[in-house]
C-alpha cells in the first residue's frame, strides 16, 4: 500500500466496512507505519471520548413542561375530538385483545405505587372528578335515576324500578342505560361513545356473583355471562365502584359490571360495548377513582352484548 491512510478510510476499517483483501492490506500497513497507527489510535479515542461524555439530565423546567403537556393530553375531554384524533386507538391492535395468560403479576402493585407522589400522579387526579360527580348525582337522583334505567331493562319496567327505589333496594337489569333495547334506536344514530357517556340519569349497575374468572377462560366466561344478561339483576353501584368503573371506561356506562373473582382474588369485571365489539376489563381490588388496577383486558369482537 502506497502513501498513508486517511481518517475516513481508517474509520471505515474500524467499523468493518472494509473487508477481504483490502482489509488485510490496511492491517499490514498499520503494522508497519507508526504514523498511520497513531492516527488509528486517535480515531479509536473519538468513540471513547463520546462514550465518556456524561449524558445530559433533563432540566426541571423541561420535566415540568412535559408533565403539563401529558396531563393536558390525558385531560382532553372524552368527546368527539378525543376519539377522532386517535382513530387507531379505538381500533385495538391484535395483541390488545389477547389474554395475558401466564404473565407475571408479581409487580402488580406497580399501579399507583411506583410513580405515586410524582408529578404525573397529581396530574391525573383532576380527571376523575367528573366521573365521581356523575356517580354522586346518580346516587342523589334516586327515583328519577332508577326510572330512567328501569326503562332499559327487558325484565323490570319503570314502575318496578321506581318502587324498588322507594325501598332503597335498587334492582334493575344490572346494565347501563345505554345498553338496553330502549336505546338501540338511539344507538344507530349516535356514536357508541357519545351514547354511552355517563350523564345524570344513568348509572353504573353492578351484579354480584361467585364466579371465579381465570385468564385462560376469561373470554368464554364473559361471553356466557353476557348471554345470561337478561336474567341478571344488579344494584346501583356504590360511589367507589362507580368511580373505578367510570375511570376505566372513561365515563362510558358499561353493559356489565360484575363483582366476582379473577384468579381467586376479588375483582370487578367491566364490559363496555364499543364499535360493535365488547371491551372487557378486569379491575383488581385496588381499583379506585385514581387507580385503575387493571388485571386483564380482552376484546370480544364481534361483541355479543349489542342487542
Amino acid at each position: 500500500m502506497k502513501g498513508h491512510l486517511d481518517a475516513d478510510v481508517l474509520a471505515e476499517y474500524r467499523a468493518w466496512l472494509i473487508t477481504g483483501r483490502r482489509r488485510r492490506a490496511i492491517a499490514a500497513h498499520l503494522s508497519g507505519c507508526a504514523e498511520c497507527a497513531a492516527l488509528d489510535a486517535r480515531l479509536a479515542q473519538v468513540s471513547a471520548l463520546l462514550a465518556a461524555t456524561p449524558a445530559p439530565s433533563m432540566p426541571d423546567a423541561v420535566t415540568r413542561r412535559l408533565d403539563d403537556a401529558l396531563a393536558a393530553e390525558v385531560h382532553r375531554p372524552i368527546s368527539a375530538e378525543r376519539h377522532s384524533v386517535p382513530a387507531k386507538r379505538r381500533g385495538f391492535p391484535s395483541w390488545a385483545g389477547r389474554s395475558w395468560a401466564g404473565r407475571s403479576w408479581a409487580g402488580r402493585s406497580w399501579a399507583g405505587r411506583s410513580w405515586a407522589g410524582r408529578s404525573w400522579a397529581g396530574a391525573f387526579r383532576v380527571r376523575v372528578l367528573a366521573p365521581v360527580a356523575a356517580a354522586a348525582a346518580v346516587l342523589a337522583g334516586g327515583g328519577y335515576v332508577l326510572s330512567q334505567v328501569g326503562g332499559t331493562s327487558a325484565l323490570s319496567g319503570p314502575d318496578t324500578a321506581a318502587g324498588n327505589a322507594g325501598s332503597g333496594q335498587a334492582v334493575s337489569s344490572g346494565f347501563g342505560a345505554s345498553a338496553g333495547p330502549a336505546s338501540s334506536a338511539a344507538k344507530s344514530r349516535m356514536s357508541p361513545e357519545r351514547n354511552n357517556q355517563a350523564v345524570p340519569g344513568s348509572g353504573v349497575y353492578v351484579v354480584t356473583s361467585d364466579l371465579n374468572y381465570t385468564a385462560a377462560t376469561l373470554r368464554t366466561q364473559v361471553a356466557a355471562q353476557l348471554r345470561a344478561r337478561p336474567s341478571l339483576h344488579g344494584t346501583l353501584a356504590p360511589a367507589a365502584v362507580s368511580a373505578c368503573v367510570l375511570r376505566i371506561t372513561r365515563n362510558a356506562i358499561p353493559v356489565l359490571t360484575e363483582k366476582a373473582r379473577y384468579q381467586d382474588t376479588p375483582a370487578t369485571i367491566i364490559v363496555l360495548s364499543r364499535d360493535g365489539s365488547d371491551q372487557v376489563w378486569v379491575a383488581g381490588p385496588h381499583c379506585t377513582a385514581t387507580n385503575s388496577d387493571i388485571l386483564d383486558h380482552v376484546v370480544l369482537s364481534p361483541g355479543i352484548s349489542a342487542p
Binding site: D8, A11, L49, A52, M58, P93, A121, S292
Partner: protein, 218 residues
C-alpha cells in the same frame, strides 16, 4: 435492548409492552409511567440530535404526544423503547429539516448558552461536554443521530438501525464518517480527559455490541 426490560425496569415491575397495552386499554397512568421510565434517555437523544435545548424540548413534547396518540399502531415488531426512540429521532430530524428551511433563528453562541449545564460546578467533564456538543453540531443531522445513538448512548448498530429506519451498514458508515470528521475537532480534548475510563455512573449505556472490529457483522 429487549422488549421486556428497559434500563430502569425492576425485575418485578410491569414491562414496557404491558404498560403500552394498558394505555391502549384506557389506563390513564400507564403512558406516563412508560414515558417516565425512558425520558432521561429520550432527552439525551433529543438534545444530542438537535443540539439545542428549546428545540429538543419541543421535539420531545411532539414525540411524546405522538406516541400517546399512536400507541394503538404499535404492533410489537420492535421493542417499545425502540419504537419510542424512533418517534423521538424522527421528531428531531423533522424539526431540524424545518429549521434548515427557514432563516437561522439561533446563533451558535446562543445555542451554546442554551446548552449551558445546570450542574453547579464547572468540572472538566462539563467543559468537555460543551466542546463535544459544539463538535457534534458540525455534523450533518442524520450522521449525528447515528453517532449519538451508537457512540454516546451505547446502542447496538442493529438497534440504531431499527430506530433510524436504515440498514445496519448505513449506520456503520454514518458513524465512521462522523468519527473521522470529529477527530480534528476533539483531539485537544483527549488530553483533558486523559485515559479516564468511561464513567459508569454518568452514562445510560445499554448493553449491546459496539462498532468495533470485534462487533463487526457486515
Amino acid at each position: 435492548m429487549s422488549a421486556s426490560t428497559g434500563p430502569t425496569a425492576d425485575p418485578g415491575s410491569v414491562s414496557d409492552a404491558q404498560l403500552l397495552r394498558l394505555h391502549v386499554a384506557g389506563d390513564t397512568e400507564a403512558f406516563g409511567e412508560l414515558f417516565r421510565r425512558h425520558r432521561d434517555r429520550l432527552w439525551a437523544v433529543a438534545l444530542r440530535t438537535v443540539c439545542d435545548q428549546e428545540e429538543a424540548a419541543d421535539a420531545l413534547q411532539d414525540a411524546m404526544l405522538s406516541a400517546f396518540r399512536r400507541a394503538g399502531d404499535f404492533r410489537g415488531e420492535s421493542a417499545v423503547t425502540t419504537w419510542l426512540h424512533r418517534i423521538v429521532v424522527n421528531a428531531c430530524l423533522d424539526r431540524l429539516r424545518r429549521r434548515a428551511a427557514r432563516p437561522a433563528m439561533t446563533g451558535e453562541d446562543e445555542a451554546l448558552a442554551a446548552l449551558a449545564p445546570e450542574a453547579p460546578d464547572g468540572t472538566e467533564l462539563t467543559a468537555a461536554r460543551l466542546d463535544v456538543d459544539a463538535a457534534l453540531r458540525m455534523l450533518p443531522p442524520p450522521q449525528r443521530a447515528a453517532l449519538v445513538l451508537v457512540d454516546m448512548l451505547g446502542y447496538s448498530v442493529s438497534d440504531a438501525a431499527d430506530i433510524l429506519g436504515i440498514s445496519p451498514g448505513t449506520v456503520k458508515s454514518r458513524c465512521a464518517r462522523s468519527r473521522a470528521r470529529l477527530l480534528p475537532l476533539v483531539q485537544h480534548l483527549r488530553g483533558g480527559l486523559g485515559g479516564a475510563p468511561p464513567s459508569k455512573t454518568t452514562r445510560n449505556q445499554a448493553p449491546g455490541e459496539r462498532v468495533s472490529p470485534q462487533g463487526g457483522d457486515a
